[in-house]
């Protein structure tokens, strides 16, 4: 009690704020602002405001040239891609943007990028054809080149500023071409000032403060008290998200949701008993009451998912995995030799530091106990994320909950990491995405189809992606569960925010009404 008067005294000094400078909070601590090192959602969000990639994905999924002026032109053999660049653009330090800057940025990313495989797996080299044209030489034809070049990690940086850092990261400064300049950086806070020499439409606000608070309660409280103007949903607890939704309905807050690009799914160890039996995998696919699970886990905030490619990405519909059908599931368990006095024991591993995983595991266990108790018995095991990822490729988990978000919105980015297989024995994948994702499933011809899918475009590609999905659903090495949409909540005095097609808030559009 003695400290209360002291607190009230300190509280009397409320600082004034510029109403046109906005504060946006999230749980994202940003350890690096170097596109070569960025790998977290928060860093990507920040880089999308202070840098420009060559292309961007619009909210309707179409491609918009940003630092490029037109879509890439591909050679007849599909192995050379030419990108014409925008003229008259300058970096924040005044260096002109040109082909040499793109070559420098891409070569730097290939040399030191944490996610260098994004480019390195597909691109052999890059060169300037003239001052405003670059050419990329590909390892093999790749149709979704514009989508790949929309990845934030490939944001061009100023060669002048980054030359001393061509072989190491520059984690606390950023010199790009984006609508904002980064004028102050700590991992917990970044200050963004409008870039006066920006080539595009100037920001609608006078600047932004991006702050990181380390727990969901603090974030929720900060928006409630008006201490911050906006709140990004990543890592916000479900209870808080649901309450924020309620306040949106009451008109106390405004909200926007981006395209659902994060998929949550179960990976089934398909090369070892008991789940090497496709009948049992199919039975499990029919045992998932997604609507009920989502209701318990997210109170309806997540959307049920029955495909590996999100519906927002071309090829994501129709969703071929089966709906909940306990009667059909029981028939398949019987066919597999269970139910008649014998229960299928399965160990489900969940990531102990992901709250929704735990809730899912407990709820599914209870639902199976209710509807299929005589056929299947789920045993739960929690494990810290990093440990689980290390053991995943060793085939340690019969059944594990995982999530995935492609580095850019394209079907290839969801299918290859989960189904790709460079070395197979029949239906067993020994090396590749399928093995490192803990399923080890493949089928003859699948890898060829995946590689072909990367070279096709238009209707032919859609048809192939749908076929791959259908055939994978029939084998059920993975069971898609739900989709997570990124959200932002803002104070009612702000105009409604918007997301781009890559799931990032358009921070430059945030403004007071």
């Amino acid at each position: 009690m003695a400290l209360v008067p002291l607190l009230s005294l300190v509280a009397a000094c409320q600082p004034r704020r510029d109403p046109d400078r906005l504060i946006v909070a999230s749980r994202n601590r940003i350890d690096t602002v170097d596109p070569a090192g960025a790998s977290t959602i928060g860093a990507m969000q920040l880089l999308s405001a202070i840098g420009d990639p060559l292309y961007a994905v619009r909210s309707d999924g179409s491609i918009e040239p940003r630092l490029a002026v037109a879509l890439p032109r591909t050679s007849a053999d599909g192995l050379r891609v030419v990108v014409p660049l925008r003229r008259g653009v300058r970096f924040h330090d005044g260096t002109p943007f040109n082909a040499a800057a793109v070559v420098f940025s891409f070569e730097r990313f290939l040399a030191i990028g944490t996610l260098s495989y994004l480019l390195g797996d597909r691109v052999l080299g890059v060169r300037a054809l003239d001052a405003y044209t670059v050419e990329l030489r590909l390892r093999k034809p790749f149709a979704a080149m514009a989508q790949l070049l929309s990845a934030v990690n490939l944001t061009p940086v100023s060669p002048t500023a980054y030359r001393p850092y061509s072989r190491r990261q520059l984690s606390n400064r950023f010199i790009g071409t984006g609508p904002y300049r980064l004028t102050f950086y700590t991992p917990q806070q970044q200050r963004l000032e409008p870039f006066k020499g920006y080539w595009g439409r100037p920001p609608a606000n006078r600047g932004l403060e991006l702050v990181s608070l380390s727990n969901s309660t603090a974030l929720f409280g900060a928006l409630q008290s008006g201490e911050v103007d906006g709140l990004l949903s990543s890592s916000l607890e479900i209870d808080h998200q649901v309450e924020l939704q309620r306040q949106v309905q009451r008109g106390r807050l405004r909200q926007a949701a981006g395209p659902a690009l994060v998929i949550v799914f179960l990976s089934l160890l398909s090369d070892q008993p008991p789940l090497d039996n496709p009948v049992l995998r199919r039975a499990l696919a029919l045992s998932l009451d997604r609507d009920r699970l989502i209701e318990r886990v997210s109170q309806g905030l997540y959307a049920p998912l029955r495909s590996l490619v999100p519906p927002a990405v071309p090829g994501g519909t129709p969703q071929p995995w089966p709906r909940y059908n306990p009667a059909a599931a029981r028939r398949l368990y019987r066919q597999g030799g269970y139910c008649a006095g014998r229960r299928l024991p399965l160990e489900l591993t969940f990531r102990s530091n992901v709250p929704s995983d735990r809730l899912f595991a407990l709820t599914w266990q209870a639902l199976l106990q209710r509807d299929l108790a005589d056929c299947v018995e789920l045993r739960l095991q929690g494990m810290e994320t990093t440990t689980a990822y290390r053991l995943l490729g060793e085939g340690a988990f019969p059944l594990i909950v995982l999530d995935w978000m492609g580095d850019f919105p394209d079907a290839d980015n969801y299918l290859v990491p989960l189904l790709g297989c460079q070395q197979a024995e029949g239906e067993r994948c020994r090396k590749g995405g399928s093995a490192s994702s803990g399923s080890f499933w493949t089928r003859p011809g699948l890898e060829t189809e995946l590689q072909r899918s990367a070279t096709l475009s238009g209707a032919a590609r859609l048809a192939l992606v749908r076929r791959i999905q259908r055939q994978t659903a029939a084998a059920s090495p993975y069971l898609p569960l739900w989709l997570v949409k990124p959200r932002i909540w803002v104070r009612p005095e702000l105009a409604a925010p918007r997301f781009d097609g890559s799931g990032r808030v358009l921070l430059q559009e945030l403004r007071r009404r």
Partner: protein, 343 residues
């Protein structure tokens, strides 16, 4: 040997053992980190990337070398005072510690100061009438604050003073709309300097507003320990023969307490404060996490999750070295104040 000589020998022995202890600790942390499943590549990439890409990143981070080679490099650098670069963003570890340690020390120092003032006042308040209402309240305060879970108190304080009353910020160390003061990394000192030299008091106000809630919460939690320790030791001292003898000589109660009982009762409190200081150097994790305080404990927790080997090793070593320094200082201080202690 004279007492000062024995004390000097004791201090030198402690200081001589410190490097050995730190080497053992460094080795233990080095090994334990690498024994834990998963490495920085697993933490950075999750399930992303092919085996070849993961191997390339491991090589880029120097994790493809044998454990012995990695250990040799680590020790060699350590001897040169180089704690290496973080694996997550290749920032010098010393730089990260330089940014986070002052935050923890500042929070700890202010909290300890408040805790000492409140704790001593509460502990002392029961002396007027033993077993009276004030004494009972002081005892309850001591037990209550000692038993309170720190995260619960922190969240309640946050809810009441930041969200409901809107008096103070929910978290962070400095107002996001201002630029933090540059200098020692201790914002309180730096902003006070700016206020005095430049007449700009806004940074100091901002620092105090952000410091108020976490420091008060931590102070409340610590003050119970101080209050109880003082209360018990003061009571014991008041019942001792030398105080009784002084009382028989006709000294006033005030003089008995202040001149005879209190100095002796404060010695154990000083030891307790020393231990508390040592524990606060490593940061108060739950308070830092709840109030988004960018201190060394919160950073260490993140670094462990990221398997950032050099950063974990660096933080543990620097904090351990400081703890050694503080405990030796407290030992010397107590020895100087208490002539009964032998070495």
């Amino acid at each position: 040997m004279s007492r000062p000589g024995r004390l000097l020998r004791y201090v030198l022995a402690r200081l001589a053992l410190a490097p050995v202890m730190l080497w053992l600790l460094a080795t233990l942390v080095f090994l334990l980190l690498r024994l834990a499943p998963g490495d920085p590549v697993d933490a950075l990439l999750g399930t992303r990337a092919s085996a070849a890409a993961r191997a390339a990143l491991r090589a880029q981070l120097g994790l493809d070398q044998s454990l012995l080679v990695q250990y040799g490099r680590f020790l060699l650098k350590l001897l040169q005072g180089d704690l290496g670069l973080t694996l997550t963003n290749q920032q010098p570890v010393t730089e990260v510690i330089g940014q986070t340690l002052p935050a923890s020390l500042e929070l700890g120092a202010v909290a300890l100061l408040l805790a000492a003032v409140v704790g001593l006042a509460v502990g002392f308040s029961g002396m007027a009438r033993a077993e009276g209402r004030v004494d009972l309240a002081a005892r309850l305060y001591g037990i209550g604050t000692y038993a309170l879970p720190s995260f619960w108190l922190a969240m309640v304080a946050q809810l009441v003073f930041a969200v409901w009353l809107r008096w103070l910020p929910v978290g962070g160390r400095f107002p996001p709309t201002l630029l933090p003061p540059v200098g020692t990394g201790f914002y309180l000192l730096d902003s006070l300097r700016d206020g005095l030299l430049l007449g700009d008091w806004l940074p100091l106000q901002g620092t105090l507003r952000h410091l108020a809630l976490p420091a008060s919460t931590l102070a409340v939690l610590l003050s119970g320990i101080v209050a109880n320790a003082l209360r018990l030791n003061l009571r014991r001292a008041m019942a001792s023969d030398y105080v009784e003898a002084a009382r028989c000589r006709g000294l006033s109660e005030r003089s008995l307490i202040l001149r005879h009982a209190l100095p002796n009762a404060l010695l154990p409190v000083l030891t307790i404060l020393g231990i508390t200081v040592a524990s606060l150097i490593g940061g108060a994790l739950l308070i830092e996490v709840t109030f988004s305080w960018p201190g060394v404990a919160a950073r260490l927790q993140e670094a462990i999750g990221q398997r950032d080997y050099p950063l974990v090793q660096g933080i543990v070593l620097v904090v351990a070295a400081l703890v050694v320094a503080v405990t030796v200082t407290v030992d010397v201080l107590v020895a100087l104040l208490d002539p009964r202690l032998e070495f």
